[in-house]
Amino acid sequence: MTLKKILIVFAHPRYEQSRTNRALIEGVKRMDGVTVQDLYEWYPNFNIDIFIEKDLLKHHDLIVWHHPLYWYSCPPLLKQWIDMVLEFGWAYGPEGNALEGKQVFNVLTAGGTKEVYCEKGRNHYTIREFLRPFEQTARLCSMEYLPPFAVMGTHRLSEEQLATYVRQYQELLRSLQKNELEIPDTDNCQFINDLPALQNLQEK
């Protein structure tokens, strides 16, 4: 069976100063069958080349929106990307079926811990709730939306914890490529991190 091809659409306006995202991207960018599209490096003036981006999407089976969580959403260039690339009549709407059947999920980093993202926490809503627009975007484009992979509490992450996250990210992409991951009912799974396959990795 051929491996699935993965496209990581990555958006970070200050990549050089992001310890967590640097570690994550460095960890996966050289993997076989993985393409990292660094949006802020390619389109610093927000002038996204729609032709190139559509072509990239066409040639990959699984899309990752990889970004830090800013004000409960993605950085503006990723939103610009969604606005411009997911064209009416191509990604959705009549005859808009270019992305049909592809998988997509968010990989995100956040300063706050999981505890502050819940009804009783400071942020009142869960990460899954904040990510609803992405989930629905995927649905409108007839894509399969998977639970997010989240690295939470980045400000207090130790080097070891960060290394574990990087290993989990790699393992996640590898098993998704081989279609080996058993993903339970999406709605009941807050984070893809919680899957036993990745949790076992943490113990090592």
Binding site: N47, I50, D83, M84, E87, F88, G89, G93, P94
Partner: protein, 633 residues
């Protein structure tokens, strides 16, 4: 066999032209080629030059003068200060040890202390000319061997000044000859008491320093304003010759004066320009110097006392080698590098000619003794390249693999920036300012000396010079730089510089300013990828604003402008090929019109930019949905 000046020139030049390529052919340094050329045309073989050999040696010493001026130019006081430990440590211990040991030996051999000490000092010096030439040719300046040799030689070149100042003091003891001078350098110092002489020596040194700062630099500025390159070469030569003359007038070594003058000018904005102007003269004169050394070897004397001379030569080289070995060991230099230093610096240098003749003039020792040591010096200089070959091919392979070359642990003399910015006018200055605002300092080359002066006051590292010249680019560090930005105004100059750069530094990334579309085509066809047309961004911005005043929304216009620029860049690359093959290429003006026609045609065919822009376009979405509905219903 004498002859006219032209005949002499033909002899020297053809000897060089024949012998040096042969030496190079066999992988030997050019120094050896010149030396053998000298021996061959000298009085003992072909006899093309005879008695006048000595005069030629004197004239050719000017090559050494020039070389020391250039060495001085390389030494910025700051960099010099950083290297002080190696220079003083290695150089100092080498000179002191060698002098003491040879002085001891000479005393044992029955030399008086005056002659023994002055000869010992002369013997402690090595040949900057030979060693530096070899290092440069073999590209070894960056190795431990190269850096250590350079430090030692530098110390020697400097220590000669006090040596020359001290030697007259010895002559009090041998005062019998004072007043009479054999060498024929009339020097008004001869009639002065010894104490005053030393004062004069120091005074003339101060004189050179002051002139360097307050006379030469303003002079060069005036000359630079005329923008005549040959006039600049003339001034550069004038400076060196004037210093040399002044020094000779007071009976000092011209080489030292020139060295000092170089150091004083090292911090001026003309450093690189002076370097590149004098380099060819230096090379030629040094070649002549080596030929003269070869020709002046007195084979008659060698035949008369073969044993004594052989013993002395072997003794001197061994003694110098042992001292160098000890010094290098103290500084923990690896074995293979150590042997290179030992062999490389074991000869007696050209300053021995100067010191020994000087001491002889003062009557410290006899003419016979002078000749003897001159022969020893010349032989040791000739032997050096041969010993080096022996070392490289026989000894070094035996001490095992050549230890891997590491970066020298000692300070390197120059700080090189990763970015070279050529041209600091309106265009270049903005580039330089923005880079600096981001903490990136660039080496700046500009050919406007008044601007260079101003910028240096503002703390920029700016050099004056014509960036089309290979040597200037080299000294500005084009070999080590990552990026070179060309912000030159003149398209032809840009193109010529680009050709030079691409030929010599294929790895250097070039960012090039282009005046017009046609210039951009030429650059593209020359193989430049990063081309910046100076008018493209500005003119599009004017059009953007015009649209804004007509009521167009700014963000939409901005996106159109971005697309327009992209299309324009694309068409530039597409049309560049055609331009090359077009007959009209020669006529720039006609070409410009033809180009505009082609562009306008393309724009027409593509239609309006906004037609293909569907992002956030609710109008076309509405149309399609409604069309779908009416079709479906």
């Amino acid at each position: 066999m004498t002859g006219t000046f032209l005949f002499q020139a033909v002899i020297y030049l053809s000897a060089a032209v024949v012998c040096v390529p042969i030496a190079k052919r066999f992988g030997l340094s050019s120094v050896l080629g010149y030396l053998f050329a000298g021996i061959i045309i000298g009085p003992y073989l072909l006899k093309f030059i005879g008695e006048e050999g000595e005069d030629i040696l004197h004239f050719a010493e000017f090559g050494v003068v020039m070389m020391l001026f250039l060495i001085g130019l390389e030494i910025e006081p700051k960099a010099f200060w950083k290297m002080k430990k190696t220079i003083l440590g290695m150089g100092g211990s080498q000179v002191v040890l060698t002098t003491l040991l040879s002085f001891g030996l000479l005393s044992v051999m029955g030399y008086s202390w005056q002659s023994g000490l002055s000869i010992a000092m002369a013997l402690s010096l090595s040949s900057t000319a030979i060693v530096l030439q070899t290092l440069k040719e073999k590209n070894l300046m960056d190795t431990v061997y190269g850096a250590s040799s350079f430090s030692i030689l530098l110390f020697q070149d400097i220590i000669v000044i006090p040596m020359l100042a001290v030697i007259p003091l010895f002559s009090t003891a041998a005062a019998s000859v004072s007043g009479g001078h054999e060498g024929g350098h009339p020097s008004f110092l001869d009639n002065l008491p010894v104490g005053l002489r030393t004062v004069f020596v120091l005074l003339s040194v101060v004189c050179v320093v002051l002139a360097g700062r307050y006379l030469f630099v303003p002079l060069l500025r005036v000359v630079a304003l005329t923008r005549l390159r040959e006039l600049f070469s003339a001034s550069a030569l004038l400076i060196v010759i004037a210093i040399a003359y002044l020094m000779e007038l007071v009976g000092l070594s011209p080489a030292l004066g020139a060295f000092l003058g170089g150091v004083v000018l090292a911090t001026s904005e003309f450093k690189h320009e002076l370097e590149s102007n004098l380099e060819p003269f230096k090379g030629l004169l040094l070649g002549l110097f080596f030929i003269a050394v070869g020709a002046s070897i007195n084979f008659g004397m060698i035949l008369d006392n073969p044993v004594e001379i052989t013993l002395l030569v072997v003794g001197v080289i061994t003694l110098k080698g042992v001292v160098l070995y000890i010094v290098a060991s103290i500084f923990r230099i690896k074995m293979d590098q150590k042997l290179l230093i030992v062999v490389g610096l074991s000869q007696v240098g050209e300053f021995a000619f100067v010191l020994l003749s000087f001491a002889n003039q003062l009557g410290i020792f006899s003419k016979e003794r002078l000749d003897l040591f001159l022969v020893i010096t010349a032989i040791s200089m000739t032997l050096t390249p041969l010993l080096a070959i022996f070392n490289e091919h026989v000894i070094l392979p035996k001490i095992g693999t050549k230890e891997s070359e590491e970066k020298p642990p000692m300070d390197t003399i120059e700080k090189k920036n990763k970015v070279i910015l050529v041209g600091f006018g309106h265009f270049g200055s903005t580039i330089g300012r923005f880079l600096r605002a981001n903490g990136v300092e660039s080496t700046i080359l500009d050919h406007d000396s008044s601007r260079v002066d101003l910028l240096r006051k503002m703390g920029f590292e700016v050099y004056y010079g014509d960036a089309m010249r290979e040597d200037l680019l080299e000294s500005a560090g084009a070999g080590d730089a990552k990026i070179l930005i060309s912000a030159i105004d003149d398209p032809d100059a840009t193109l010529r510089m680009v050709e030079v750069l691409q030929h010599n530094y294929p790895d250097l990334t070039l960012l090039v300013r282009a005046k017009s579309r046609v210039d951009a085509y030429q650059l593209l066809n020359a193989g430049v990828t990063h081309i910046y047309r100076e008018t493209l961004d500005t003119s599009v911005r004017v059009a953007e604003d015009a649209l804004h005043f007509l009521g167009h929304r700014k963000y939409t216009t901005l996106r159109q402008a971005q697309n327009f620029k992209k299309y324009d860049e694309d068409s530039l690359r597409r049309l560049a090929d055609k331009v090359l093959n077009s007959d009209e290429y020669i006529f720039k003006a006609r070409e410009e019109i033809a180009q505009q026609e082609a562009l306008l045609k393309e724009d027409l065919e593509r239609g309006q930019l906004s037609d293909e822009d569907t992002s956030w376009d609710s109008e076309s979405m509405r149309n399609r949905i409604n069309a779908g509905k009416s079709a479906g219903s």
